[in-house]
């Protein structure tokens, strides 16, 4: 019965004859190379570059600091940058101190016991180390810190305070954001070259994004400057700094894109002001359909 079905199918050519020789001949080097050479070079480059956003998404990483990157000394809460950390609970960023203060409760009455307790809940994290020395070290604590020097309280729900920092407050997504913007530009440029997107729309999209970048960076920058000048320190400082950096990435990459789109006026700056002469002869094949 089986043989009958098989012979019928092969006679009717419903099942292709997938012999090993046929497959290997189809996938032979000559065939593949001929197929690849048929694809235009530009299309290959764009296909390769369109993978950038995916690489970018996979390259998000974290890093840690041990000293103040701004070289500040005794930076008070909430700190100059999102790396603010106060494990010791002395009100100053540990990175800005040469030797961060650690608070150890030594005022217990029972010298025989030594226990370490760590408790964590949704809103606060407190670490208490009890060494049972009883030497009265707490007498040196300043009045501001005398309430509870053993407790380090982190802001409620760090995630909301640091924007999309995943609660760590230390990440700037420089490379991923840059690559996503470049990928986006290559995509719209490809659409424009293919005639799907009009030149004006292509320009308008990137001019709008550049404006958003400049406005975002400018507004957050001015707010931060005012905050520093007036000595305003809020928990929002870190998230404003974060968005300042992210918007600045959009602004910087957007400016380079703006230069690419307006390459001719950019060259004119040097021609008009300094009398530079550029080679105006262009390859006629390249002149077709450029956005410059």
């Amino acid at each position: 019965m089986k043989k009958k079905i098989k012979s019928t199918l092969s006679r009717e050519k419903l099942v292709p004859d997938l012999s090993r020789e046929k497959i290997s001949s189809t996938l032979s080097k000559e065939n593949l190379s001929s197929v690849l050479t048929k694809i235009p070079m530009k299309q290959k480059i764009f296909a390769a570059l369109s993978t950038i956003p995916f690489i970018a998404l996979g390259s998000m990483s974290t890093s840690c600091a041990t000293t103040c990157p701004y070289g500040m000394v005794n930076d008070p809460y909430p700190g100059q940058c999102p790396r603010y950390m106060d494990v010791g609970g002395d009100g100053f960023c540990d990175f800005s101190q040469t030797t961060p203060t650690t608070t150890t409760d030594t005022s217990t009455t029972d010298p025989s016991t030594s226990d370490t307790t760590t408790s964590t809940d949704d809103t606060t994290t407190s670490t208490t180390t009890d060494q049972g020395q009883g030497n009265g070290a707490n007498a040196e604590v300043t009045p501001d810190q005398s309430t509870d020097t053993n407790t380090t309280t982190l802001p409620d729900d760090p995630g909301s305070d640091y924007g999309s920092l995943n609660g760590e407050g230390t990440n700037y997504y420089v490379l991923p954001v840059t690559l996503i913007i470049i990928g986006g530009y290559l995509f719209t440029y490809y659409l424009f070259k293919k005639g799907i997107l009009k030149r004006n729309k292509h320009k308008r999209i990137w001019n709008l994004l550049l404006t958003v970048g400049y406005l975002g960076t400018g507004i957050t920058g001015v707010i931060l400057t005012f905050m520093v000048n007036l000595g305003i320190r809020t928990a929002l400082n870190q998230s404003i700094t974060f968005w300042h950096v992210e918007m600045a990435i959009l602004m910087v990459v957007g400016t380079f894109i703006h230069l690419h789109i307006n390459w001719k006026p950019f060259k004119n700056i040097f021609r008009v002001l300094f009398g530079f002469k550029f080679n105006s002869r262009r390859d006629p094949t390249k002149a077709k359909g450029t956005s410059k």
């Binding site: 701004y70 700037y172 400049y214 400018g218 920058g221 004119n268 002001l273």
Partner: protein, 111 residues
């Protein structure tokens, strides 16, 4: 550290008014006026963004440089200049800016 916000802006406001009046009085060509300010915005961008980028790298890779506070200071000062010159840039290219904000078709229908 206190940042000056008015002082660095004054020479640029004065400079823009000067070149703009010279252009309006037809003492210089429009291209010269535009290109001077394009060059200034380019330089302000290069210095401010460059300093910002170096600061970012310093922070990401945890490198401590003795010039960090100075770099931060000039990043802020040139950033203020950049924001101001961006307003001038919008003024220079106001027609293109309007096209960007309001679609050409809509403007034509409104007219």
């Amino acid at each position: 550290m206190v940042y000056d916000m008015i002082l660095p802006a004054i020479p640029f406001i004065g400079g823009y008014l000067l070149t703009y009046s010279l252009y309006r009085l037809k003492l210089i060509r429009k291209a010269v006026h535009i290109n001077i300010w394009n060059l200034i915005i380019g330089l302000a961008f290069l210095i401010s963004a460059g300093a910002g980028f170096v600061l970012l790298l310093i922070m990401e890779f945890n490198v401590k440089l003795p010039i960090s506070p100075e770099l931060l200071y000039w990043h802020v000062e040139l950033g203020i200049t950049l924001a101001l010159v961006t307003v001038f840039h919008f003024h220079t290219y106001w027609k293109s800016a309007k096209t960007m904000l309001v679609a050409a078709k809509r403007r034509r229908s409104e007219a």
